[in-house]
């Protein structure tokens, strides 16, 4: 590598440089220079591995920067070994949720000190409650199954439908909400399958897309609240098939109503 190129590489943000390496976006010379460093400083491999784990976990939790998602999917969902890492990140997340609930049941702590354990136990309880009340929901505006104390995160259950009129529900997203978790009922889903969702409106069919996490008899998509303004939405659920192909499996319809002014 020429001197100027070495200087340029040395001044780049190391994390960004490693992400470009992981996403196969480096020129061969730059890539070769970085790989040469693996044999000079093996601790760099651990650093790259930790950034890779971080990237994968963000994707599995639908928190990966949107601009990186298409490239990530292209690189990570196409080779079995890398896809296995994505699947394992999802499994770790599910195992953590379950372990947190179990810990909470074994060692209930005072209310003010409860954080994740409480939130998860509460979420689980609410999911069971909602499952029991599911038949009643069709005739009433959908209520969230969980809300965080400050309404920053709110969750709803959606059922698939062929047309908007047979399955559409109405949800209200408070102004303080940052994330909306949509639990999409899809009983045939399994943890070792890869799903993604594409959110759209009649005018704009692809305003947001993201990965999902398998949960119980469905998958959960976490949508940033700022993309959900008042209006009608379609959420398309797709499954990853061999050969970089995404196949539509279900549609979910919902309407976001304007939040009622709280008077605060």
């Amino acid at each position: 590598m020429v001197e100027g190129e070495q200087d340029r590489v040395a001044t780049l943000d190391p994390d960004a440089q490693i992400i470009r390496y992981l996403l196969d976006e480096m020129e061969p010379e730059e890539r070769s220079l970085l790989e040469e460093r693996f044999s000079q400083e093996p601790s760099l491999v651990e650093q790259v591995s930790s950034i890779e784990d971080d990237l994968i976990m963000k994707y599995a939790c639908s928190r990966l920067e949107e601009s990186l998602v298409p490239r990530f999917e292209e690189v990570y969902l196409q080779t079995p070994a890398r896809r296995a890492r994505v699947d394992s990140a999802r499994i770790l997340r599910q195992a953590l949720d379950a372990a947190a609930s179990a810990k909470e049941q074994q060692h209930p702590r005072p209310v003010l000190r409860l954080r994740w354990g409480f939130a998860l136990a509460f979420a689980a309880a609410m999911i069971f409650l909602v499952a029991g009340l599911l038949p009643l929901w069709k005739s009433t505006p959908s209520r969230p199954i969980t809300t965080s104390g400050d309404n920053q995160q709110i969750a709803f259950v959606l059922e698939p439908g062929r047309v908007r009129s047979d399955s559409g529900v109405q949800i209200t997203v408070p102004g303080t909400t940052r994330e909306v978790q949509l639990k999409l009922m899809w009983p045939s889903s399994t943890a070792n399958e890869n799903y993604r969702v594409i959110l759209g409106t009649p005018e704009r069919p692809g305003i947001w897309s993201g990965a999902t996490v398998h949960k119980d008899a469905g998958v959960v998509a976490t949508v940033p609240a700022n993309v959900l303004t008042a209006g009608d939405y379609t959420l398309k659920l797709q499954i990853a098939r061999a050969g970089a192909h995404w196949e539509d499996v279900a549609n979910y319809y919902f309407r976001v109503a304007k939040p009622i002014a709280s008077g605060k």
């Binding site: 994390d15 390496y21 992981l22 196969d24 790989e35 040469e36 693996f38 044999s39 000079q40 400083e41 093996p42 491999v45 651990e46 650093q47 790259v48 591995s49 930790s50 950034i51 890779e52 784990d53 971080d54 976990m57 939790c61 928190r63 690189v75 080779t79 079995p80 070994a81 890398r82 296995a84 890492r85 699947d87 394992s88 499994i91 770790l92 997340r93 599910q94 195992a95 953590l96 379950a98 372990a99 947190a100 179990a102 810990k103 994740w116 399994t190 943890a191 070792n192």
Partner: protein
């Protein structure tokens, strides 16, 4: 280990692994860590058989040691990464399953990623329950996207948190693999 697999004047497994550490337990751990790192390296190069390639690197490195060559690098891992780069350059591919038979004696245990998803979940859940509270909460905060707040509270740089989480995950995966082996599960 059978000595004849590397010829009449071969070093034993423990003698070979001693290049990583004089303590046999530490040497074994460092050897497995190197194998995992090499596997990742080949994944980053989009190779379809990263585990076979990692084993090929180890085989070549240990064969050279058997031939009497010395590793001059301060960290033996650096020496093996040099071989790994050559393996990529050559476009090496495993031709026959038996090609790797002569390194079976040094074959690292099967990876956590070879377990099926249901097994991963079961064994991970068991091992998570044994994590110290602080590590469990750190991992939970990180997975929930609250890692930054957790780092501030703990006085850690975000990169340091990421590395700690990575090490916890690696440890969990090793523990889960061990439990899988202990439960009599036949690994692929």
């Amino acid at each position: 280990m059978s000595r004849q697999e590397f010829g009449p004047s071969t070093l034993s497994r423990s003698e070979l692994l001693a290049i990583f550490d004089s303590d046999p337990c530490q040497a074994e751990e460092k050897y497995i860590a190197l194998y995992r790192s090499l596997t990742r390296y080949f994944e980053w190069n989009r190779k379809s058989d990263p585990q076979d390639m990692a084993q090929e690197v180890l085989k070549r490195g240990f064969s050279r040691l058997q031939e009497g060559k010395k590793i001059t690098a301060e960290n033996p891992a650096a020496y093996f990464f040099g071989i790994a780069r050559n393996v990529v350059r050559e476009g090496w591919k495993a031709r026959q399953p038996e090609q790797l038979a002569d390194v079976d004696i040094l074959k690292p245990p099967s990876s956590f990623y070879n377990l099926d998803p249901a097994e991963q979940r079961v064994f991970l859940s068991e091992c998570l329950g044994k994590l110290p509270n602080e590590e469990f909460e750190m991992l939970m905060a990180y997975v929930q996207g609250e890692g930054e707040a957790w780092s501030r509270k703990a006085g850690l740089q975000p990169g340091a948190l990421r590395l700690r989480v990575h090490r916890i995950r690696r440890r969990l995966e090793e523990l889960a693999s061990l439990r899988a082996r202990g439960s009599g599960r036949k690994e692929s």
